[in-house]
Structures are given as C-alpha cells and as structure tokens.
C-alpha cells in the first residue's frame, strides 16, 4: 500500500500519460478508420486500393516495429516531433486499421437495398454513406469498437519504452527505489483497469442508447 501513497504523484503522472495517449490515439484511430472504411467501399478503384494497402500494412506490422519505424524513421525524413506525438501517431494509425475493418463489417450488415434506395433518389456516394448507411452501421459496431479501443489503451504501454511518460513505465523508478515489485505492478494494473473499465462502461451506455433493438 505504501508504494501507492508514497508515490502518488508519480503514479498520477503515469496514469494521466496513459489517459492522454489513449484519448488522442483513439480520436486519431476513429477519424482515420472512418476515412479508410469510406475508401474501402468507395466506387473509385484507386481509393479502394489505398484503403486496402493501409489496412494490410498496418494490421500486419507488429506494433513495436511500427513504433521503431515512426520514432527512428520519420526523423530521417526531417520530421522531428515530440515523442508523445510520435506515439499517438503510431498507436492511432495502427488502431485505425482495426477500426476500419470493424466499420466495414458494420457497413456490410446494412442491407444493400438501403444504399440503392438512397442512390436512386439522387444522393451522392458520400451523402448515401453519411446519412443512410453509416448511421445504421454505427449501431452494430459499438461493441467491437469498444473492444478495439480497450486494446489500444493497453497497447499504449509500448510507448513507455520510447521515453513517453505513461503508466507501465512508472515501475522503473519505483523498483530502483526498492519498492516491492509485486505491489508496484498491482497498482499499475489497477490503473489500467480504471481506464479500460471506463471505456467498457462508456460503450455499454452507448449501446443501450443507440444499439439495435432486437
């Protein structure tokens, strides 16, 4: 117990770091995932190819490798950003591939006729997608999007290895100070639980509010 009360500010900083990484990366992943899902169902072939390549590359690259690529690769091309921003970029892009596929499976649950009816009324592709297809797809993808964001929250631990302040990384100074390693990790685990259970609760509420009535 001492380990938490003695080092509350250290834990607090780490906790906030993970929350920040999670929130910003989630926002980036949702936006990019939405764009890529639109690309993958677009009537224009080159958009579909771009979306497919994006998903294939990012989903099949180990996240740690992706962190290395972003942190060490991008500065070589003259792009130097704070580590936190690089971490958000890597996490967000990686997770966007999964969000994209979740959204696409949601789009596929909407009967074909819905889109055809919208198009037959003269709506453009983007109007059809945004006013008819996605609002109906959205209801079915709430649970899997929640799972993907929970995975993102836990994946953010990798950023600690790249000198970004986050929750898991707090174990290093604490173990150097000689605290019991088991209790150090117990409190770190509790921190992650708070974040992931909050995401669960949020998506549970959304599902109740907007989910498909069966």
């Amino acid at each position: 117990m001492d380990v938490l009360t003695d080092n509350f500010s250290l834990y607090g900083k780490g906790f906030l770091g993970t929350v920040e990484l999670t929130v910003y990366s989630s926002a980036l992943a949702l936006v990019l995932g939405f764009v890529m899902a639109s690309f993958r169902v677009a009537p224009v072939g080159s958009f579909r190819v771009f979306g497919t390549v994006w998903v294939t590359v990012l989903r099949n690259t180990p996240l740690t490798l992706l962190f290395f690529a972003v942190m060490l690769g991008l500065p070589r091309f003259g792009l130097v950003l704070p580590f936190e921003l690089f971490a958000v970029l890597a996490l967000g892009c990686y997770t966007s591939a999964f969000i994209c596929e979740v959204l696409r499976s949601g789009i596929n649950t909407v009967p074909r006729g819905q889109g055809e009816a919208a198009r037959s009324l003269g709506m453009t592709f983007s109007q059809t997608l945004s006013t008819v297809v996605l609002p109906q797809a959205f209801r079915t993808v709430i649970p899997p999007v929640g799972s993907t964001l929970i995975a993102l929250a836990k994946n953010s631990a990798i950023a600690g290895a790249f000198s970004v302040t986050e929750l898991l990384g707090t174990y290093k100074p604490l173990s150097e100070l000689g605290y019991d390693i088991v209790w150090t990790f117990v409190w770190i685990a509790v921190g992650y639980l708070i974040i992931t259970l909050t995401i669960s609760a949020l998506f549970h509420l959304m599902e109740k509010r907007w989910g498909v009535a069966r």
Partner: protein, 248 residues
Amino acid sequence: MAVVDPLIELRGVNKHYGALHVLRSVDLTVGRGEVVVVIGPSGSGKSTLCRAMNRLESVESGEILVDGRPLPEEGKALARLRAEVGMVFQSFNLFAHRTVLANVSLAQVKVRRRRKEEADRRSRELLDRVGLAAHADKYPAQLSGGQQQRVAIARALAMDPKALLFDEPTSALDPEMINEVLEVMQQLAREGMTMVVVTHEMGFARSAAHRVVFMADGKIVEDRTPEEFFTAPRSERARDFLSKILKH
C-alpha cells in the same frame, strides 16, 4: 413501336453476369407519359433491364439515353440524373432508421436543397395522397408491407421525377395489400406519369399499360398494346408463358 416523344431510350444494350447473357442487345423506347409494363418468366432479365435505366446495374455495351442525354458514369452527374428517375423496389427499401416523414423528406433536403419545413410540407401532401398522412411519425418497421410500399412511392415522387421505375413493386406483398399499391400506381398512370413497371400483375398490365413488353432469355420478344398481347400473342414463348399464368 414508334414513339413520338421518347424519354428513355435503350439501344443495343448488353450485359453479362459471368457466363449468363442477361441482356441481349435490347432496344426499347419509352415515350413521355407512357406506361410500359415489362413481363416475362423469372431470370428473363426484366429486373436487370429496369435497374439499368438508372444505372443501378451498369451495362457492357449499348446506349441508354434519358431525356435525350446518355446516362453518365458514376459521380455527381449520375446522381443528378437519378433524381429525375424515381425507383420503387420489390423490398421497399425504406430507410429503417428514419421515420416515414423523414424518409420522404431526406432526399428533398439533401438533393433538391429544399428547406426542411418546405420538404416536410411536401412530404405530408404526398403521404396524404397515398393515404398515409396519419402514419408520418412512425418507423417503417411499424407499417405493413403495402403501407411501406406506398411510402416508397411517395418518397420517389417527392423528387418530382420525370419517370418512375417499378421493380416488381407488389411481389413481396400479401395478396390483400397488393391492391392498395396498384391503386396508387393506377392513379399515377392516369395522371400521365411516365412509368416502367416490371410486374406479374396481369390485371394492372391490361388496365393501365399503354404497351406490354414481353421478355425471355434476355431478349424483348414482344412489344405491343395489352389488348393485342393478351388476346393474340405472336410468339410461342409468350403463348406458353400466358397459358401458365392465366390458367388459374
């Protein structure tokens, strides 16, 4: 048949689904104000023909002209043209997440750029016309099939289209609901709407159609007035088809 004022023209239209040749160099002209009923055995290509007219199905060769202009490729130009050619589907396809009123108003606002109040006013007029004014605030799933199809007709009419395409509009309905939909269609026909109707309702074909087009195996086999077609079909294929469906 010679048509005075053509609105929809198909010239040498071909389409394959894999090895299946669903449309075999089809020529068809639909005049302004004309009601053309397309009948034929299932798999004869009549639905595909209907859907090709607003490019929900693309075709491989041949020309399709609407009001003198060739159908554009995908994109904004095609969307604009589709707004001029309404479509009513076999499975209604009302937007499940929107109320009846919103279903009829949505495209008016998005495509015709009408103000919301103006669109809603027009929607209520049209719903009244199809006898569903009282159901404006319900969701599609709360309506019967016949009611849903009448909403779908109102939704198509809300765009003030030049022509309406009906793809088997009564095939998914219970027998007692077929008439309420056909009555709305009869009324439209009387008012001079240009209509292409794919259907199995021979009674509607006899009473409302100016021309009956009989299709088999991707080809138009006969294209004549209903009286001529039903009393003296020329082709063996049409005689055979009629003997099968008119027996009962």
